[in-house]
């Protein structure tokens, strides 16, 4: 690795920035092919019903209608996780949410396809809709999904790492709190779109707004019963993803099948309302946390329970459920930890991964609970956190490996920058500060389907013109993943990254990268790119050393040339170096790949949570609450993020600011609500999100302690900085008006109700009052590392069978 960095760390333009500002980026809906047809979907108007009959003959005979596709033509199910292949492309005998696709029509234009959809009638037999967590936990003999574990309980999880009950019994202080994190959605500006063509040679090509072309590739092969080698999936640059384009979707498969049936290219572009029905957004989560501490502030143990309202299908939900318990242990040392989680099926659009995937909800509860604990112990909440920090290069109770942890510096920096010590509990009534922290993965340790191949691959082609082309299966969703590849290859080969050609997200042309999710892309594609570029540099250096008669280890690559570090006049330009190498070795191409290190967690279910390394964030929010109206005005947000090293600080800050914005949107206003089985706000006007008028000042502080496993030391930034926002906001509201809001979004009504309760002598709190009884499975017992465990499950102590 070069000693002096020329590209890494520079606030360079993105490689695709000029195209984006010129309006020249080709998003999925911008793909136009000759002789193209347009498709539309008929979607369910019922939250839960049996389909008795579909009458489509009036549509079939319409002028301009080319094909009508019914669910029975695609009987094979699909789904992102191997354990929940529960979706049909088009519903066959039952619909499970309003908006579920039932029929697809291809016609000469969109208007005709829309008319045709209106002429199709579906006869339903309504079933009782299950629309809430209390509904979902109730026993039923006609569950939404027959494969659910019990009734509408999709999946339960139970782990115990160390004897939590006895650990809690040794506490001086025990807190029991219930929290609710409302569901919300990604709301990318780009609506989903896809174009398919079935070529005369029997190859199928699909362009789509997807974050995960590899998984779409697999789903198409499965459902269409075609060899994957005859299917090409091209992920167009996404007009925003945030997790909402990470599943294979019905519209992608339907448009592919319609292209096969008609022999013509077919496009589908969803309306905004349809995007709300695709959803896969944040799970609403009800949580109960029991936290124990000693008088001196040290944490003794934690028992955390979650119930997720999953919507009608599996999606990523089993993983989401594990994630509501996986990362509680990564910030503060928890000697004994018990986690019980359950996901329910309900008659709503399926929930899935949204920025932070399953971790913002438990982080919300935990960071508020620590604030409460600090107050009861009479200590500063910053000090309480600092005192309990996880150590670098250590294992957590649930066997996650923490490498670098910049959280101490994050907390210290935001405390200092915000003037915390002169403000906390010292500001006048109505004004307050709140602190919270967070932690997120830098890539999931395991792939979604079991295999031991690399999770990311990069190929380099070095042309004798001096052009370097980087091929990688990653997908740029706006975060800048194409640019990261160019910066890293440019750094190592000493060439201008803006002149590197990057080809990504194409299953025919590029080696597999699993996709833009779990904040994995910079670390995994970056490490693969480093390997490929270093291999190329070896070849170049061999050839240049021979030409210049200079020892190889004296060669430096920078400024588009390779030169002798002791006599820079001895040099060749980059194109010449490639020509020399090509003459010596033949056509120059190299590959690199990356697979995360094996996890220390060997127990079943321990595959969710491990990551090559973790990012950390801390934030202080200062705000004003008007006690008359309950309206919150945010004064300023200070956020420090442990990035390891910024490959491009401008893009890092962009991700931090975007995460702060999105986290505060969730905290203040965004919510996905239903009434009588119908989505209440499936439009951008009704679903409230922050506008330019709602924005506040953000001071971002980057903590750069290069991590040994990150490319040039980099860790993630796309998701982690969202996590502290909702709890920091609630903690600040408490500091301002001394009422606890234990659920989000924190609306003015909730603040006023809590203030009113307090003024009547009741508890000054708004939040869930109870946690339903659920039959979680018996816990799997795993000894923590400090109790002599080996990362595997061990014999179950008798008391765990009775529960706590």
């Amino acid at each position: 690795m070069p000693d002096k960095l020329n590209v890494v760390g520079q606030p360079l333009r993105k490689v695709d920035a000029a195209a984006k500002v010129a309006g020249r980026t080709i998003f999925a809906d911008d793909v136009v092919l000759p002789n193209m047809l347009y498709a539309k979907l008929l979607r369910s108007t019922r939250p839960h019903a049996r389909i008795i009959n579909i009458e489509a003959s009036a549509a079939e005979t319409m002028e301009g209608v080319k094909s009508i596709l019914l669910g029975s033509e695609l009987p094979i199910t699909f789904g992102i996780l191997p354990v929940s292949q529960d979706e049909h492309t088009l519903a066959i005998d039952r619909v499970r949410y309003v908006g579920e696709p039932i029929v697809a029509v291809a016609a000469v234009d969109e208007e005709t396809a829309e008319d045709a959809i209106r002429r199709i009638t579906v006869e339903y037999e309504d079933l009782p809709p299950i629309m809430s967590i209390p509904d979902g936990v109730r026993a039923t003999d006609d569950p939404i999904q027959a494969y659910a574990e019990q009734g509408n309980i999709h999946k339960t999880i139970s782990f115990e790492f160390g004897e939590t009950k006895s650990a809690l019994e040794q506490s001086d202080l025990i807190l029991d709190d219930t929290f609710f994190y409302q569901g919300n959605t990604h709301l990318p500006l780009e609506q989903h779109a896809a174009v398919a063509v079935y070529q005369p040679d029997g190859k199928l090509v699909l362009w789509s707004a997807t974050q995960t072309p590899h998984y779409v590739h697999r789903a198409l092969a499965r459902v269409l019963e075609m060899p994957a080698s005859r299917i090409q999936v091209i992920a167009c640059p996404n007009g925003g993803g945030f997790g909402g384009k990470s599943d294979p979707f019905s519209h992608e498969i339907a448009v592919a099948k319609l292209a096969m049936k008609t022999g013509r290219p077919v496009k589908i572009a969803l309306t905004r309302e349809e995007v709300f029905y695709c959803h896969r957004g944040r799970h609403p989560v009800l949580m109960h946390s029991r936290l124990g501490l000693k008088k001196d502030g040290s944490i003794t143990g934690m028992h955390f329970k979650t119930i997720l309202d999953g919507g009608a299908y599996g999606s990523y939900g089993v993983a989401s459920t594990y994630y509501t318990g996986a990362l509680q242990t990564t910030t503060y040392h928890i000697p004994a930890y018990k986690f019980e989680g359950a996901r329910l099926f309900t008659n709503k659009p399926p929930c899935g991964p949204k920025r932070g995937h399953g971790t913002p909800q438990p982080r919300f509860g935990m960071e508020i609970q620590l604030d409460k604990a600090a107050e009861l112990l009479g200590v500063d909440p910053a000090e309480l956190r600092l005192q309990n920090l996880v150590q670098p290069n250590s294992l957590t109770a649930n066997w996650l490996t923490i490498r670098t942890i910049g959280l101490r510096r994050c907390i210290e920096k935001v405390i200092e920058a915000s003037g915390w010590k002169s403000k906390f509990r010292k500001l006048p009534f109505g004004r307050g500060v709140g602190l919270a922290c967070g932690c997120y993965l830098t890539g999931a340790g395991l792939p979604i389907y079991w295999n031991n191949m690399p999770q990311s691959g990069v190929q380099l082609k070095l042309d004798r013109s001096g052009l370097v082309t980087v091929f990688c299966g990653s997908t740029d969703i706006g975060q800048g993943s194409d640019s990261i590849l160019a910066y890293i290859v440019g750094e190592i080969l000493g060439i201008d990254p803006l002149h590197i050609r990057v080809v990504t997200g194409d299953t025919d042309l590029t080696p597999v990268d699993l996709g833009s999710y779990s904040s994995r892309v910079t670390l995994m594609t970056g490490n693969a790119a480093i390997q490929a570029a270093e291999r190329a540099r070896e070849l170049l250096n061999d050839a240049v050393a021979a030409e210049l008669k200079v020892p190889k280890d004296r060669l430096v690559a920078a400024d588009n040339r390779i030169f002798d570090s002791e006599d820079s006049a001895k040099c060749v330009d980059f194109a010449k170096a490639v020509q020399l190498a090509e003459a010596k070795f033949g056509t120059i191409g190299t590959v690199g790949s990356y697979k995360p290190p094996a996890s220390a967690a060997k127990y079943k279910g321990g595959g969710v949570g491990p990551s090559p390394t973790y990012s950390f964030s801390a934030s202080v929010i200062e705000l004003e609450v008007d006690p008359q109206t309950g309206i919150i005005r945010i004064e300023k947000v200070w956020i420090a993020h442990d990035i390891g090293r910024s490959i491009n600080p401008m893009l890092v800050i962009g991700q931090v600011e975007g995460s702060v914005y999105m986290g505060l949107g969730e905290a203040l206003m965004e919510e996905q609500e239903f009434r009588l089985g119908v989505h209440k706000t499936p439009s951008m006007l009704d679903y409230k999100s922050p506008t330019s008028m709602d924005m506040y000042s953000i001071e971002t502080i980057l903590i750069e302690e290069p991590d040994p496993v990150g490319p040039f030391g980099a860790k993630e930034v796309g998701q982690g900085p969202l996590l502290p926002m909702p709890p920091a906001l609630c903690n600040a509201v408490y500091d301002a008006v001394r009422v606890r809001i234990d659920e989000i979004p924190v609306t003015p009504e909730k603040i006023l109700r809590a203030l009113k309760a307090k003024s009547q002598g009741k508890e000054g709190r708004f939040g869930p009052q109870s946690f339903p009884t659920i039959e979680y499975r018996d816990p799997m017992f795993i000894l923590p590392p400090w109790s002599g465990g080996d990362g595997r499950s061990s014999a179950q102590p008798e008391y765990t069978r009775k529960g706590l």
Binding site: K14, A17, G23, E111, P188, G239, R272, G478, S683, S692
Partner: protein
């Protein structure tokens, strides 16, 4: 059977004739009939600002306009912003400061920003925030966009100064 109507539209200083269904919005005609897909859509019902174009220099939502009403007016889209291959200072500032993450809301926001700077060459932060009040962006948290508009205002001011001098 639906019938098409002939429109004569002045788009990016070019007179374009196009036959389109009378129900088609300006957004659809630009994207699908005139081969100008730079204008994007996020809702198609006037809620997100993504499809903003300029009508005689004023921002307008192309998803709510019918081409039949627009003959004789000058329509500017993002494709008409650059001077040949040279980006407009707003476009350069957006690229240089990372104000376009996914880049999908960018064309609409550029249009609003262009109209703003033409009317008010030195806007305050509050005026920028207000001008962009109808344009949603989900990636950036808006701050980089504000900064890019401020940078472009400075660049334009300097350019004008250079011309005057």
């Amino acid at each position: 059977m639906r019938s098409k109507e002939l429109h004569r539209l002045m788009v990016n200083r070019e007179l374009r004739e196009v036959a389109a269904y009378s129900s088609r919005t300006l957004l659809e005609v630009l994207r699908e009939d005139l081969g100008l897909p730079g204008t994007k859509h996020g809702c198609e019902v006037g809620e997100c600002g993504t499809c903003t174009v300029l009508l005689d220099g004023q921002p307008a939502l192309s998803c709510l306009l019918l081409p039949a009403d627009l003959e004789g007016q000058h329509i500017t889209t993002v494709e008409g912003m650059a001077n040949g291959a040279e980006l407009h200072p707003l476009q350069s500032a957006f690229a240089d400061l990372g104000a376009a993450q996914c880049g999908y809301c960018t064309p609409g926001i550029l249009m609003v920003a262009k109209a703003l700077l033409e009317e008010n060459p030195e806007p305050t932060r509050a005026q920028i925030e207000e001008a962009l009040g109808g344009n949603l962006c989900r990636c950036t948290g808006y701050l980089k966009i504000f900064e890019a508009i401020e940078l472009a205002a400075k660049t334009l001011h300097q350019e004008e100064h250079a011309h005057a001098g």
